[in-house]
Symmetry: C2
Subunit: 139 residues, 2 copies
């Protein structure tokens, strides 16, 4: 007895299931690149040539600022990221990728966006529809 389905609930429930099913892929991928999952998130968020204030990173990761300190400490000690003073505000430090970090990030993104086999089974028409719909979700 479910005459009227709640609006937009079914597609989202499916997406959540897809998230969880896909979630297990990150740990092995991270291990392959000698990173932790958390470090992958940081690296993923810092685009080359777009310095990111540490506070913005904490907000994006939905975690405490002091956590970002340690996270960045470890990435910096491995030469993947550098802290630099911000031009306008001397309290903030912005994060930039080193060349090594930039290369590792490219590798990470490449691996992460390798589509699972199930996607290949979709017809071209379905793939295009999916791109269009997801584009609207992300805008």
């Amino acid at each position: 007895m479910k005459p009227t389905s709640p609006p937009a609930r079914d597609p989202w429930a499916l997406l959540v299931r897809l998230f969880f099913a896909q979630r297990a892929n990150l740990p092995p991928l991270a291990a392959e690149l000698q990173l932790s999952p958390a470090q992958c998130h940081v690296l993923h968020f810092i685009e080359p040539d777009r310095p990111v204030p540490m506070g913005e990173l904490a907000e994006t990761l939905a975690c405490d600022a002091s956590n970002v300190t340690g996270l960045v400490d470890r990435l910096e000690s491995r030469g993947l990221v550098r802290r630099r003073p911000s031009a306008g505000d001397r309290r903030v430090k912005v994060l930039v990728l080193t060349p090594t970090g930039s290369r590792l990030r490219a590798l990470l993104l490449d691996r992460m966006t390798a589509p699972p086999a199930a996607l290949e089974r979709l017809s071209l028409r379905e793939q295009r529809a999916l791109v269009r719909i997801l584009g609207r979700l992300l805008e």
Copy 2:
């Protein structure tokens, strides 16, 4: 210059972006239910009336078995989960939800599957197409 797009790569890249954009929602939701994100994953995976061997949980979470031990220890001490001996194999222990755990899980799923506003903006036609395509991805 990208005349031919690699097959199935674009839709997956979009899905990955959606994963990351949505990822930040779990920590606050978990905190609201007095759980950690990891505990949410465990609770999410144990369906009521479907006992799960601990080893299967470790595999699904892509983590070490000893990690599951601690995770379950804390959930069990809070009365959300119980360990029970397996009928067929006396080495394995299966996990079952307590009534409390079952209620909390239902609450969690309800909150998790509350669709973000962006989904409401899709037309009914698009929502149906999304359901159909995602269903094929998950089968």
